[in-house]
């Protein structure tokens, strides 16, 4: 295929050709960045968390009297276990993605105080009896809390509990002691210290940072007795079969409201909690999808429009070419090659632009570096889009009969 005639003809339409190149470049740049942002949102929304999210129901109880919880919590839990379909019920201070965060930082040296720079900030979950079974935690090493640890743990005047046993996530253990087993090791925040009795599969924190997923799993479980909880335990969690969860949630909410007339019970399935946490993110992702679709459509229509126009303008030349022996295939090829050349110039410019935009966004917003393969990916998408949009007009061009050459326009 000879491409010199194509260049010659493009040189005659310098400005429209330049605009098409520019349009493809812009579309490529915006597309790469938008798709990258969408993929980031999607992976954030799907952050895994090793609890039984499908079957979990939570009911929060607000407005209870801290002095009475020692008797009320066991009574409430017993009532909740009586609901049909409930496999296990327990109480905890917070749930992953509930935004109700209680953070503290610990070190691995006996003299670590909370202000130490090297300390690791973790989210604290206080949990009662059977909490592991109700959440569906997977114990990887060691064990969950035993009855004594649960019964002895209480709050005194400080915001840390008077106990010495903790269970932490695998990610937290890796952050404290990289490459070593955490079992039997101790974390410190002077004068408090806690020995790791178990390691569980990674559970998300109540709040996760969208820019650093490595820290999203730094969570530590503490045992807590109902009597010593001082109001810290307010999430009743129930586990059942996924198909029962809505009914369990309603019944549990009702039961807790009946048992505690002075308090307010609010039930949610865990799926709702997750959805609520990521609601903003998913709507932004949808908005970006819409923008991408519209942009690609506009670009495609632009190419169709301009090529059809050029075809209409060159009917006579096409007729002459056909009359002097060019096949339909040649004519098709001419327009396809022309589009390919324009697209190539466009995506080359577009990739540079996309890279630049990414750098700009990284500097000004919480944006990470775009992996390199988004660039050729976006380029390929626009190449295909270009070829697809030029196909129709090119076919129209190929169907111009040679006899046109003999007519005077």
């Amino acid at each position: 295929m000879e491409i010199r005639p194509i260049f010659a003809s493009l040189r005659k339409h310098r400005i429209p050709a330049l605009l098409i190149v520019l349009e493809i470049a812009l579309a490529c740049a915006v597309l790469c960045n938008a798709v990258f942002m969408i993929s980031q949102r999607v992976s954030d929304i799907g952050l895994p968390s090793a609890i039984d999210e499908q079957g979990l129901v939570s009911v929060t109880l607000r407005g209870t009297d801290d002095k009475l919880v020692a008797s009320e919590i066991p009574r409430n839990l017993a009532a909740l276990r009586g609901i049909a379909g409930v496999q296990q019920a327990a109480i905890t201070s917070s749930l992953p993605l509930s935004t109700n965060n209680w953070g503290w930082s610990f070190g691995v040296n006996p003299d670590s105080v909370i202000a130490n720079q090297k300390n690791i900030n973790v989210s604290l979950y206080f949990i009662g009896e059977n909490g592991d079974k109700a959440l569906g935690l997977h114990v990887l090493q060691g064990r969950f809390f035993n009855g004594d640890e649960l019964a002895d743990s209480k709050f005194d005047t400080a915001p840390l509990p008077e106990t010495h046993a903790v269970v932490m996530t695998h990610a937290a253990a890796e952050n404290f002691w990289p490459g070593q087993s955490a079992l039997g090791k101790t974390i410190y925040s002077k004068p408090y210290y806690y020995t790791v009795v178990g390691v569980v599969e990674d559970v998300l924190r109540p709040n996760v940072s969208t820019t650093n997923t490595r820290k999203s799993y730094d969570a530590v479980y503490f045992p807590m007795s109902a009597a010593g909880s001082k109001g810290a335990l307010s999430y009743y969690i129930l586990r059942g079969a996924p198909q029962d969860r809505d009914r369990i949630m309603r019944e549990a909410e009702q039961k807790l409201a009946e048992l505690n007339p002075g308090a307010v019970a609010k039930g949610q399935t865990y799926m709702d909690i997750r959805e609520k946490y990521f609601a903003n993110m998913s709507s932004m992702a949808w908005m970006l999808v819409l923008v991408c679709v519209v942009m690609l459509a506009v670009t495609a229509f632009g190419i169709v429009g301009l090529t059809s126009f050029w075809v209409g303008q060159r009917r006579r030349q096409i007729g002459i070419r056909r009359a002097v022996g060019a096949t339909r295939g040649h004519i098709m090829q001419y327009f396809q090659t022309e589009n390919f050349l324009l697209s190539t110039a466009g995506v080359a410019l577009g990739m540079v632009l996309a890279f630049g935009i990414n750098i700009y966004l990284m500097q000004h917003y919480e944006m990470s570096r775009m992996p390199w393969y988004y660039l050729p990916g976006g380029a390929l998408a626009l190449w295909l889009l270009g070829q697809a949009s030029v196909f129709g007009p090119a076919q129209k061009a190929a169907s111009v009969p040679p006899v046109v050459a003999t007519r005077s326009v």
Partner: protein, 445 residues
């Protein structure tokens, strides 16, 4: 003459309806997409109190010293003071009373116990504030008003409630003078607000994150709230290594920050002297040994403070940029199509010139045609924007979607940009075509 050009333009556009539709669609889509995201952006980043925001300021006092890094994303190691006040400082500022109006603010979440056995308790959300809060922020009242300064100093059990709570508890009657039970204690209603839910909740973004909920339901005198043990429902930030002592007293004596503060300063000299006052205050604290560092205060305007706190989510900024990109793609696309169309018509121009049309007349004719496309695209953009807003209302969480309003002025601007872009696209080919000798054009075609 204009009517004639308009007629010519419409004829020309009718001759290639597909291309015309394409050009208008491209402009329409670009305008609609950028307008829709812009309206969301404006909604979230908008000024909730535009008539007064330039007079409202948030003081920050460095109570932790240079050893502690604080503030959201303190850039490049610049030491920022904490974004809320410790109790001692808030009380000192209230006591000195150097601004026109001022109030310390803290978030509370008490429970309202309605009378009548069958009614269940209502958890409510609100703030402990000073009486000056209401005139400072122009809080609208339906019945009654805020409380006088004497109620602040006496810690009187008075309360301002929201319209919604008034409906819930008193059936929407004028409840001023009646009692309402909060956490087991009676408060006398002194004012009922009109529906008031500024977004972002600019007077306490540190605790509320700026957005959310149906607005504050109760306001009680701050001293009264503290005295009756209403716990702080907002954020408490302590310097590293400090644990507040037990209970409310411990929190009050600590250097932990948990109070928002807002002042009204009416002009530049007042702002200047308030800055001076803050520095003097910090110097006094330094003298008495509470701070062992030089004054490091901030007095940010309300809007600057919202920016500093990153109240508007980054996502919104970025999607706005993406939509601007889309608008650009659409405009470039239209210009390309228009150029192709106009450049082809040198023959027609030659004929018209040969028949006596001046260059000006040619320009006028073609620019009219370009403008018609721009206007058509703009009108289409209006319709699509309406659709876009419907879509936004479906996919966005209601608290954000409610804020999305189309700004008429801005919409006109975008349509104007669309028209200008299409006219610009018309200028070059017209200019080129009109310059050439008519005889030559007639010959070559």
């Amino acid at each position: 003459m204009f009517a004639y050009y308009l007629d010519l333009a419409l004829r020309s556009l009718k001759r290639s309806p597909g291309l015309t539709a394409l050009m208008m669609l491209a402009i329409g889509f670009g305008v609609a997409a950028s307008m829709t995201t812009w309206s969301v952006f404006r909604g979230v980043s908008g000024d909730p109190i535009p008539w007064k925001s330039s007079k409202l300021f948030v003081p920050q006092i460095d109570v932790w010293g240079p050893q502690q890094m604080s503030g959201p994303g303190a850039p490049g190691g610049v030491h920022e003071p904490p974004d809320a006040l410790a109790y001692a400082d808030a009380m000192a500022l209230m006591h000195d009373h150097r601004a026109t109006l001022q109030s310390a603010i803290y978030a509370v979440a008490p429970t309202v116990l309605p009378t009548g056995a069958a009614r269940s308790p209502i958890p409510v959300f609100g703030f402990g504030v000073y009486g000056e809060f209401f005139p400072m922020l122009d809080v609208p009242f339906q019945y009654g008003s805020g409380w006088p300064a004497s109620d602040d100093s006496d810690g009187a059990p008075v309360i301002v409630i929201s319209d919604a709570l008034n409906r819930q508890v008193f059936g929407g009657d004028n409840s001023v003078g009646r009692n309402i039970n909060l956490d087991g204690k009676d408060y006398r209603v002194i004012g009922v607000m009109k529906p008031w839910n500024p977004q972002p909740m600019f007077f306490d973004v540190v605790d509320t994150g700026g957005f959310g909920g149906d607005g504050p339901q109760v306001f009680v005198p701050l001293q009264r709230a503290i005295a009756s043990g209403m716990e702080n429902a907002g954020a408490v930030n302590c310097p590293k290594g400090v644990q507040p002592g037990a209970g409310a007293t411990g929190l009050q004596q600590s250097n932990c920050v948990w109070l928002a503060y807002m002042v009204e300063l009416d002009d530049a000299p007042a702002v200047q002297s308030y800055r001076q006052y803050l520095d003097n205050y910090a110097r006094t604290q330094q003298k008495i040994g509470r701070f062992d560092w030089p004054p490091n205060n901030r007095l940010r305007g309300m809007r600057a403070f919202l920016d500093y706190e990153h109240v508007v989510p980054d996502d919104t900024h970025v999607s706005l940029l993406v939509s601007l990109g889309l608008l650009l793609v659409c405009l470039v696309n239209t210009m390309g199509l228009m150029l192709a169309k106009f450049l082809r018509r040198s023959g027609e121009i030659g004929v018209r010139r040969a028949l006596g049309a001046s260059r000006r007349a040619i320009h006028a004719q073609f620019l009219t045609e370009a403008a018609v496309i721009g206007v058509g695209g703009g009108v289409l953009g209006l319709l699509l924007t309406a659709l876009g807003v419907v879509f936004v209302n479906r996919v966005l969480p209601p608290r954000l979607a409610d804020l999305a309003r189309i700004d008429p002025a801005l919409f006109l601007l975008t349509v104007a940009v669309a028209i200008i872009a299409s006219v610009l696209a018309g200028v070059y080919p017209t200019f080129r075509a009109a310059r050439v000798q008519p005889a030559w054009q007639l010959k070559t075609n």
